[in-house]
């Protein structure tokens, strides 16, 4: 569905993405892992057209998007929903106005129809009775849920999650992970989750990719990824993966545990 081909991005002499290639198949939840500053969030910004790559191609459903601009890129963006790291809710609006924003901007729905969609999307993320609250009145977990409801408002084909569990307590993290899984099962959307939280990664992923020094160093299903002999990846698994994933009899894990 999304194909990233040989993408490079340079900031002030530092190569953040260094010829990155990655496939995001339709209907899968791909988790992109990597150290802080390895270019995960930059990649999401390039996919959504918020940032342009220095070179390389991004294909979305057979369309090369780095050459698109104006109306064409805006039309494509309507197929993408994004949950930002900080939720990025409009603080001058209520929860209902935030969720209805895209409908208000791009459709002719009347207020009653919009309210119906807002209620439906909020119930999808297990939130009710918060329609008239302002973002400042919500907890961190609730803000993420509202951000997710807003991302779902236009029935996107792809949902991008930028560090969905960062800054949340463990209980809320588990709830958000469960929500991502439920939404994937219920809506059958393609999801891309950027995270360095390995608990979150293993609980939501149907495929995983590891980025290091601007390149993909590992790619596969969760059961495949734990058997890839890459030192950076195994360090991530060893220090972050949940206990049920850590099989100490795994020879590759043993090898890095010994170090």
């Amino acid at each position: 569905m999304i194909s990233i081909r040989n993408v490079t991005k340079n900031f002030g002499g530092k190569n953040v993405l260094n010829g990155l290639s990655l496939e995001i198949p339709r209907g899968e939840t791909l988790v992109i892992m990597g150290q802080s500053g390895c270019g995960k969030s930059v990649l999401l910004k390039i996919i959504t057209g918020l940032m342009s790559a220095d070179s390389g191609e991004i294909w979305f459903d057979g369309t090369e998007i780095s050459s698109l601009n104006g109306k064409k890129i805006n039309n494509l963006r309507r197929k993408i929903g994004m949950l930002f790291q900080s939720a990025a809710l409009f603080d001058s609006m209520t929860v209902a106005e935030n969720v209805a924003f895209m409908l208000n901007q791009h459709t002719d729905l009347d207020k009653r129809e919009m309210r119906k969609v807002v209620d439906e999307k909020l119930s999808l993320v297990d939130l009710e009775g918060v329609q008239d609250l302002r973002p400042a009145e919500l907890s961190g977990g609730m803000r993420k849920r509202v951000g997710l409801a807003r991302a779902l408002a236009f029935d996107p084909e792809v949902i991008l999650y930028d560090e969905p569990t960062t800054g949340l307590d463990p209980v809320t993290c588990t709830e958000i992970n469960q929500l991502i899984k439920d939404l994937h099962e219920r809506l059958q959307v393609t999801s891309v989750v950027v995270t360095h939280d390995m608990h979150s990664a293993f609980s939501v992923a149907t495929r995983m990719a590891m980025i290091h020094e601007g390149k993909q160093v590992a790619y596969g299903r969760p059961d495949e990824i734990i058997n890839i002999d890459d030192p950076i990846l195994q360090q991530f698994i060893l220090f972050g993966a949940p206990d049920q994933i850590l099989n100490m009899e795994n020879p590759i894990l043993k090898k890095y545990l010994g170090r």
Partner: protein, 274 residues
Amino acid sequence: MEQQSTLHEANGGFPDLVKIRLHKVLAEIGHAFTLFFQTLIQIFRPPFQFDLLVKQLLLIGFNSLAVVIVSGFFTGMVLGVQGYIQLKPYAVEGSVARFVCVSVVKELGPMITAFVLAGRIGASITAELSTMKVTEQIDALEVMGTNPVKYLVVPRFLACSIMLPTLTIYSTFAGIGGGFVAVVTLFDVNGSFFLLEVQKNLFVGSVLISLIKATSFGMAIAAVGCYKGFSISTAGGAEGVGIATTGSAVISLIAILVLDFVLNHVLFNILGLV
């Protein structure tokens, strides 16, 4: 490599540092003008969101009315007092009404209104937009297929361009009123004579100059406020918001003074308006 060579050049001495600084300033001016032209283009592109414009008109106009009137009134009073004191030794204190009227209409009315709005509205536009930038709200707008220039800049730009001349009319009347009150109550000047002199010296050309200046100042305040708000990086944080807001107020004030000089030259010397 590019950064290294810049540092190397910077070590070359004072002229190189000036060159780098100048390059930065020119680049910023270029970006600001790009945003300005993008705004002009977006004004004429549908959809036209009048609700956003009305909201900004109320925020910028109605909420600034009291402070603009008070500032104009006291400026007029000061002009009246100073004018009378300066003109009396030459026995032409009767011209004080003309002095107050011409100064307020052509110069101080639009200028005081613009200064008040630069501090009050320009800075608040920058603070609001830069906070939105830092908290990724502007990125969220773009991801949702909404043009941030169209949605955020156009209503503020239009509202400033419409409300500044409107408020200038109020501040000008307040200024003349202030001059009247000061001169009539503090000195031996006849009120009817003062008003008659004002009427004699109030020309359509003068009012036109005042409104042209005010509209230009309004555009400048909005353009600087929006540019400074947009130019902050996402990593700027609270400190970046503070720096951008202060920068916005300072640049707006300088822009108003420079524009005033240019407009005075163009309107009086070239077009010959009185």
